[in-house]
């Protein structure tokens, strides 16, 4: 696999009453065939980076190389290699759907016969064949976005650069766009897209870069990022606390927690908080819970160890819980979601 996008020491300064660095010494590499999610809060420098990549903006320092071509020195070669979809629709409402694609095909110097065949194929790909002769203004937001995606593909670029492709779309349209991006990656396209929607990143990205204050704060595969940002494992345990009349321990789970904290590799034990347990339904017992629910105790163990250590922990935990008159209902490793990684990686800096 070759390097399809290389960002080298990229800096962009704007003057807004004072000099502001929108992008500050950014270095990044995207391999061929990657779906790269460029994530960051508003004002992080995502759009500036994308605009420099698409030859629309001049860098203050550094450069971006797309398919080996410099965005600063070889803009035409870069334009040939990329398909750009901005964070706005940018469509000619008075045009017909096929005319829209035909116009952009002609702008890429494609011959009329080639354009004709391509338009049919692309409309089929984005599922707009039935709207071929309709006016663009009559399309829904999701359809317009799909049409924009078809436009980016008209000259068969190697790289797709998409700025917030799913923003403002309803859930169905978002799913459709996501599916299309996965399909395009399967077809060999390298996809570089910025987004706020972290669920999209978790779902489809093979690589993620988190940018804040113009600097790259973390990058890698989602698994690498998890490792980088949250180095320990989070194990969720649900315990059934049986109310036995002869049980001498008034708060048996406290004893279990104390025991757990002494196990090698256990960093911390806490009641599972609602925000981290949402996916699993593990919720810490509340005062107003029913008696039946109170019998279930949900714990989160922050653990440092390999798979065999986790297996040993389970074995010991089952035995200890049994001694305390409790049973293990669930034991599994919690997934560290992208939101959590994002929140831990960023500090809310805006340039």
């Amino acid at each position: 696999m070759s390097e399809m996008i290389v960002i080298r020491d990229l800096t962009k300064q704007y003057y807004q009453k004072r000099w502001v660095k929108a992008v500050d010494g950014l270095n990044l590499t995207v391999q061929e065939g990657d779906i790269f999610g460029f994530v960051g809060p508003n004002g992080a420098g995502k759009t500036s980076t994308i605009r420099i990549m698409c030859t629309l903006l001049q860098a203050t320092r550094g450069d971006i190389f797309v398919a080996g071509h410099s965005a600063q020195r070889e803009p035409r070669s870069v334009r040939r290699s990329i398909g750009y979809m901005p964070d706005f629709f940018g469509v000619y409402n008075d045009m017909l759907v096929w005319e829209y694609l035909d116009f952009f095909g002609a702008c890429y110097d494609l011959a009329p016969q080639t354009r004709k065949g391509l338009i049919t194929d692309l409309l089929e790909l984005v599922d707009l064949s039935h709207r071929r002769n309709d006016r663009v203004e009559g399309l829904s937001r999701g359809m317009k976005q799909r049409l924009s995606l078809a436009r980016t593909l008209i000259h068969d670029p190697q790289v797709l650069v998409l700025d917030e492709p799913a923003s403002g779309l309803d859930p169905r349209a978002r799913v459709e766009i996501r599916r299309l991006l996965v399909e395009l990656a399967r077809m060999g396209k390298t996809i570089f897209f910025s987004t706020h929607i972290l669920a999209d990143v978790a779902e489809i990205c093979t690589k993620v870069g988190i940018i804040e204050g113009g600097r790259l704060v973390a990058s890698g595969t989602p698994a690498e990022l998890q490792q980088l940002v949250l180095p320990h494992r989070q194990i969720q345990v649900e315990i059934l606390q049986q109310r036995l009349p002869d049980n001498p321990e008034p708060e048996p789970q406290q004893a279990l927690i104390a025991w757990l904290k002494n196990i090698p590799g256990v960093l911390d034990v806490e009641h599972a908080a609602e925000n981290t347990a949402g996916e699993n339904g593990l919720v810490a017992p509340q005062e107003n819970d029913s008696e039946d629910r109170k019998q279930r105790v949900r714990l989160q163990i922050n653990f440092n160890g390999d798979d065999s250590a986790v297996s040993g922990l389970l074995k010991a935990l089952v035995e200890q819980a049994d001694l305390n008159g409790m049973g293990i209902l669930q034991f599994h490793e919690g997934s560290r979601n992208i939101e959590e990684i994002f929140m831990r990686a960023t500090k809310g800096i805006v340039t």
């Binding site: 629309l56 040939r80 990329i82 002609a106």
Partner: protein
Amino acid sequence: MTASHTTAKISARLADFTKSFRAHFAAEIQNPVVLKEMRAAMRGIRPTVLLTIYLIIMGSVVGLVYASFALADDVTTSSNTSQTLGKAIFFTVVSLEMMMVCLLAPALSAGSISAERERQTFDLIRTTLLTARSLVAGKLNSSILFLFMMLLIGFPLQSIAYYLGGVTIEEVLVSFLMLGISAIIFCTIGIIISSLVKTTLAATVVSYIITVLVLFGAPFLLLLVAMVGNVIPSSLNPTPFQEILLQVIGFVIGYIIIAINPLSAAVASEIMLIEQQQLFYTTLDMSYGWKFPVISPWISYTIFAILVSLALIRLAIYMVRQVEK
């Protein structure tokens, strides 16, 4: 170097020029911007309505001119009246066409680049392989083509004047040339304003202000120069040399003002043609039997308008090509 060698070199250069011209012409014919703009301009009922209204107005005014002559005299038997009527119709049609050019050119061209910015399609176009030159040329050509179409549909009305007499073929050709050149320069003004100003509304307003200044500012200046020219010589009590010098300065300033304005250039050229039967060149009488040589103003206007248009087009291309900093 032998003569045959030089001839071969010249013919090779000519062949290169012809090849390059053909390539440019083919590129302009296939310019996607022209096709897109013309599709947008001709789609729906709007262009049909616009053309119909334009022809009704033109036809009605020509009808009124004809009726006013017909009521006063028999235009079919009197040759003199027929020729006067022909001239009157010709001037009416050309004046209306010039008004149409001046009114429509800013409306057609002022939004060409700014509308792309407003629609947020400017960035999309700039990331394609379409050059800034092709974009500006496409926008300009589509505006000019629409105006040429309007001029062309007025041709049958002009042919009535030609049929009645009093109008020479040279007058018809010169009027077409001046109308065409005016369409080009006013569209170019619209394009350059559009590339400089962010919104279409502002670009349209500025374009109309410049058009009005070009059309009426020059005659006003001419009037001012004529008034000053009448006052100064008598108050200075000049020597013969000073008198000639002042006259030359007055003629040059007056000529420049006439030559940069389509209306005054057209009227002055027509006067030259009627009074001195000269289409290209004449002399004006000065004091002490001196003569002042003058090229017909339509030629100067054509050259001036082409040069200004070329300069403005280059500037517009430069503005469009600019990468955001």
